[in-house]
Point group: C2
Chain length 136, copies 2
């Protein structure tokens, strides 16, 4: 189970999250800022950044680092992968978790993309940090 999320609620935080969830897409901070501003005209961009930072640190949302683009954010709660167009930079979700070897074909079938490359990135804790963690 995930740790309990214990962040204070604020109008701004709620609406930021709400708008991110509502959008099925992967907006950048200031695209989201534009959305949110329609409901909270006085919110500041700094607040949007601060909240996106906090929400992704807490694991509520995901932060997508994409080549040559600014940071994007994803409110999707379920497991899914992303597929990015190398031409226009558009990013779509790949709904079900694809199985390894024939995953490219399967992804192509489900998204309509021409799949060119599959990148896998692992996240973890390196040996040095594991040691530090044990001590601290």
């Amino acid at each position: 189970m995930a740790d309990q999320i214990r962040i204070r609620r604020s109008k701004q935080r709620e609406i930021i999250l709400e708008e991110l969830m509502k959008l099925g897409s992967h907006p950048s901070a200031d695209e989201l800022y534009d959305r949110v501003r329609k409901r909270l005209p006085h919110i500041s961009l700094g607040t949007v950044y601060r909240n996106l930072e906090i929400l992704s640190r807490e694991g509520v949302i995901r932060r997508l680092a994409l080549d040559g683009q600014r940071m994007r954010f994803d409110g999707g709660r379920d497991e899914h992968q992303h597929i990015r167009c190398i031409r226009c930079g558009r990013v779509d979700d790949v709904p079900a978790p694809a199985a390894a070897s024939e995953s490219e074909r399967s992804v192509a079938r489900r998204t309509g993309y021409l799949v060119i490359e599959r990148r896998v990135q692992y996240l973890g804790m390196c040996p040095a940090c594991r040691r530090k963690d044990r001590v601290s």
Copy 2:
């Protein structure tokens, strides 16, 4: 086979590439700049950026977009995956291509990391761009 690479050679470009290859790591533009400057004291940071851009566009090197960090570059020519420490941000190579399901355990064994997450990203061309490609 890959297309022929036909970029003009320059002292600067050669040394940038050379230093990137020599480093086994994944430096940011200005870490690389520091290195290169030891051999070409008058090179400018702009030149480093320009060349990294060109080299990655030509597929000679790889550009790594990593969460919350600046862009990093990878001169490794062979297929490999990356693993990142969620605590210190360190990025290591995962030498052999890992097979799907038990890949996490396998990666852990080979890198000493505690593997927390596995992210897959697909690159391709979206339906709209495929259509445009056919026309243009």
